[in-house]
Symmetry: C2
Subunit: 241 residues, 2 copies
């Protein structure tokens, strides 16, 4: 079953290009690009100059403490946000988030760029600086705010069509309904039934029903086999001809 590999390699490639761009335009200690929202079924994170386990730690312990966490900006149209604009130096230095998470990584300044689809934040580009690099200046923030619409455009004009194409491929090959494709995509993202139910606003029972149908149609017996198989399908575009 595996594995596939899809030829172009999106969204990772887009994430890497974006990080390269901002990293070339302004000095950064490290950076990261997260795909998070419900529209970004192919979640993932690309990090620059950060050990991989930082992401785990953040997700597990520090996401809720993050003064710039996306949840705080859900119903706004904020596109670029900067830690130094939200907290005074005293507040930041005293915060658990800084002491426990930022300080050990030698981070002092943070700016985040958000990408949305219908108000939902679907991606976050985070930029980090050690104290030695100085704060993000107003000119730099203005530059980021100028940059954001273009990155946003690229994201939605290349990622979303790709996702549609993949849905169509899998849907046609295995005769899956729309809802079944929703579930299948989340399986590919590694989600549990509970997570799928939460994400799609369903009961776990419904998720299981859809999954049963998908298993039947695709001809597998477990979620793991399903994701391996579907990845294979996406990799070999002309399996049947």
């Amino acid at each position: 079953m595996l594995h596939h590999s899809i030829s172009e390699n999106f969204p990772n490639h887009f994430q890497r290009e974006s990080l390269d761009l901002v990293g070339n335009l302004l000095p950064l200690s490290s950076s990261g690009f997260y795909l998070v929202g419900p529209d970004m079924r192919h979640r993932g994170v690309v990090l620059r100059n950060l050990p991989a386990q930082v992401e785990q730690e953040y997700t597990r312990h520090y996401r809720e403490l993050d003064p710039l966490r996306p949840a705080l900006f859900e119903r706004t149209d904020t596109r670029v946000v900067c830690m130094d604009e939200r907290l005074t130096e005293a507040e930041l230095l005293a915060s658990e988030y800084y002491q426990q998470f930022m300080l050990p990584l030698n981070h002092r300044h943070v700016a985040d760029m958000f990408f949305r689809s219908d108000d939902d934040i679907i991606a976050v580009l985070t930029m980090l600086r050690a104290a030695s690099l100085g704060p993000f200046t107003p000119a730099e923030l203005a530059l980021l705010r100028t940059l954001q619409p273009f990155l946003d455009f690229t994201l939605s004009s290349v990622y979303l069509p790709r996702r549609r194409r993949e849905r169509a491929t899998l849907g046609q090959r295995h005769d899956l309904t729309d809802r079944e494709l929703d579930v299948a995509e989340l399986i590919l993202a590694g989600a549990s039934n509970k997570a799928i139910a939460l994400e799609l606003g369903l009961s776990v029972a419904t998720v299981k029903t859809h999954l049963q149908h998908v298993f039947r149609k695709v001809g597998v017996a477990s979620r793991t086999a399903l994701s391996a198989r579907l990845l294979g399908d996406l990799g070999s575009r002309n399996t049947e001809r």
Copy 2:
């Protein structure tokens, strides 16, 4: 996480190229290329002119009845085998395998090409003909036997290094031991714990222990999340730099 996608797209690409080659050299109704053995952790099948569910049916019901099934040739050095050389016409036509499986697909002649690694068959290229195309001639079989070593060479000189590279990538990124990589690869192939235990000659308990360690090191909580994450890792080669 997904997804990953790896840039080159092996082994599917190799399988497709091989099928194109034999399909261009001799007339075929349909064909298929299976990666099967323990060395081919990235299993998969590519089919030409065959509906996808044929593979499921074969695996579930007819593999054991196949007069050319790889198990029969395990300890030989047979490289190309032909149904008409093994069974008389009367035997074939009377067989359940022909009546139940081949006939509905309008297949009359079959030839298989095997690929090995240390006696183990790790891949099978199967070629199928309707009666109208006539049997595989001795000249055609000789051609296939000439072709086999070259395909074999390509398989082992491009697939096996790729697998080593992927093992190294994942091993270094997450500090996995050799044995942990073995089980991780099988997770990516969609295997259950029982299947992994069987394949590696371990008890299920040991598999679970290795998996626990892998989960910890990679920072996930389930096999599904693991495979999504690892596929992402393989897709983004320069995540950390």
